[in-house]
Symmetry: C3
Subunit: 330 residues, 3 copies
């Protein structure tokens, strides 16, 4: 497709010669002749001009360029939209590797692809177009929706519900028992973990992340939420829709998080908390109290970010002026 | 079983009509007619009364109710004890899936259940009633005791010792090499990791947790201890009995932790430390010094919790009164 | 081999009777007659003398002993060098377990050992002497070099490049999609993750660690670097050579780390940062700014360690003198 055609697909404006064909999409560092790249600001536009790229997606406000440009409101978004136009999701024909171990009572939809050594236990249901890769195991009574992608070495425990267009990366474990015990007279008793996990549409779960099953209720990941690698989602947690949860976050039991949360890496959230909607939590924060809608939180323990920064600034000032302060006290 | 019978099994006192049959155990949110639920306080009792539950396990001190009650000292404990009475642990008949790869030199006890694609190398021994699920791998010379449950995709390296009634959840890795190197003249040499891992009776290890083998000595997890998901237990660590270690905790090499520890999520403990008995460590603490018996620690770095809280309060006060302080200094 | 012969191999000096044969290498706690152990200082030498060890590797400066000694500059290094002399790396004959699923288009070098249920997809190349253990999966177009060791249940996504002498421990996931999304008008779009992962020679990656593929560029782990368990290496990260990264560290997208880094456990590093060469970062630090060559950083947020320690000392002093300060302010 030529530049003009691609611009029209995403509602962009061509500046310069729009007649060249674009054959690839690349980052600035690796773009060669025939490639389109994108630049979010003038600095990056300068780098893009030095690359071999034949066209640069950029903003409506940066300066003119010697290279052909497509101007759009959000060049990064336009880049991915063009990528998605040119690269349709893979549809595989129905396939069951002969080494897969599929219970006769499992129900498989159309165009389901089952890789080598996959184990599917009794009464599992798998929707149309779902791909389950090598060495993953799905225990009894679990329901997997349509167009899901389950990468290798994933473990899904019994009775888990996964809806449509869900991606589970390698090593994910969904539905293991929550960490629930009762300690009495020095003895530790395991509390039953009888709830389900429900993962709603369009969720993506990163490699080696764990989502525990509910204890008496269910653990729920809301639609369109994305969870990075190595996160811990404990029993009975409810995460709202459209949330972004970065790597190594831990959310403790029964905490409820509203829609549109943005949670930075390595954040820990204590149990039984209510985190409102549209909350942002900075990386490594430790949340030990409820958080209201729209708050921006950071710190250990987590507080409104302005408060944390102010405390840090005061401590730095005190340290700088320590001699004067200690003299005054004495 | 009817309410009276259940009450007698756990030494509880019936209040109201004890003749109804109980057919299920549920949390308050999902309890329906025929179910028993539990309520730890009056507030929860109020919610339980609005549910469909036919009986509520509750404390000896809350008010009377329109619903039949069973009064006990610890309703949550009573609930799990009744659950355990009604749900005996699964005993499966002896089974080896034809796709399992079991060395002829492996020794299997009675009623051992081996799922699809399980790999069991030379000289492994597996005790009576142990269940090993799909796609787990057990390397040579490891010893697994009786009545263990090993979930899918678990990796057990060579020479690991796992005693009885141990649960390993999906994706657990036991016995990988510890992180031991010698750096000399800018070159990094791998130090031999020759020790074992010993996991004692009744330990539960959460999904994707890693327990490294010892370097020259052994790594030991004491009886009845419970470790949550995504924890790191480094080489030569010794954890005492009856400890509860929440998710994403990291314990560095050669640290020794006494019995009855309670360690919150995301805590990090440095190497070569001695943590006493009956120690409690709050979530996300960073422990960089020894801890005496019975201490309650929190903070970064970890200190007695009162000290950490007092420092936090003083910094908050300083921040609030910063104008006055800075005026005084000037 | 006798003590004299072992001493000559590592350039050490024998003190006492050097004629006994050494049959094993052990830590002080488990050394018996016939074993060699090592002691880094006089205190440990005293413990070694009480053990059954027949010879102690120790420094050039500690006192004389009743036991035969070998004196060297670095006894721990000498111990591992002797271990490596006596224990050559395992070379296995070529083997493909019949249950392995190997694409006809995969190219296997000499003496490649493929365990049960290993899946190797199209166009994968595996070098000489590489061992791939049970239930690991390698997706299409990946290149694995010579003498690598891939433990069970590892997942390698498509197009990953792993060079020579690389060790991947159980449950490692290399090449999963990075956490890249564009949020626009409340909708979350997945950004393409098209880069590779390149893992250079002699890298060791700990159990359940995740190394994400690049987004538009590549993720690179430099030669001789060692990464512990449960770490998160995000998309486009570049780690230099000879780095040591302890457990549960998280490095965010596009951050570049120079050679010879030493990074403590549970450290988090934000995205798009430049960390210089020869940097040391203390455990649990949170790095939110660039770091210059040679710096030693600690804290939350991470700062030069002296600054962090000074701030901690000032806060402790303020807390201790709080009554005097508050009186003064009032």
């Amino acid at each position: 497709m030529d530049i003009k055609k691609l611009a029209s697909l995403i509602g962009g404006t061509v500046e310069g010669d729009g007649s060249s064909d674009i054959t690839g999409l690349k980052g600035i560092e690796s773009a060669k002749s025939g490639d389109m790249t994108f630049a979010m600001d003038e600095n990056l536009l300068g780098l893009a001009e030095k690359s071999g790229a034949s066209c640069v997606l950029t903003t409506t406000t940066v300066r003119k360029s010697s290279k052909p440009l497509i101007r759009v409101a959000n060049p990064k978004l336009a880049f991915l939209l063009i990528y998605n136009i040119l690269n349709k999701p893979e549809i595989r024909p129905a396939f069951k590797d002969p080494s897969a171990n599929i219970s006769p009572s499992a129900r498989l939809g159309e165009n389901v692809w089952i890789g080598p050594n996959v184990c599917i236990e009794d009464n599992v249901s798998i929707g149309n177009g779902t791909i389950i890769e090598a060495n993953s195991a799905i225990k009894k009574n679990s329901l997997i929706g349509n167009s899901c992608r389950i990468y290798p070495n994933v473990t899904i425990y019994e009775g888990v519900v996964i809806k449509n267009n869900v991606i589970l990366h390698g090593g994910v474990v969904v539905g293991a028992d929550g960490f629930g015990y009762v300690k009495e007279s020095g003895k530790i008793y395991k509390f039953p973990q009888l709830g389900k996990v429900i993962i709603e549409d369009n969720v993506e779960v990163g490699a080696n992340t764990c989502v525990d099953r509910g204890s008496l209720n269910d653990t729920i990941i809301g639609a369109n939420s994305k969870i990075d690698n190595l996160c811990q989602i404990a029993h009975n947690v409810k995460i709202g829709k459209n949330s972004l949860i970065a790597a190594q976050v831990g959310i403790s039991g029964s905490t409820v998080i509203g829609d549109n949360a943005i949670i930075g890496g390595q954040v820990g959230i204590a149990d039984n908390l209510k985190i409102g909607e549209n909350v942002t939590i900075g990386a490594q924060s430790g949340i030990i109290g409820h958080v209201s809608d729209g708050e921006v939180i950071w710190g250990y323990p987590g507080r409104p970010i302005r408060e944390t920064k102010r405390q840090m600034a005061v401590l730095a000032w005190m340290t700088k002026n320590f001699k004067a302060i200690s003299k005054l006290i004495k």
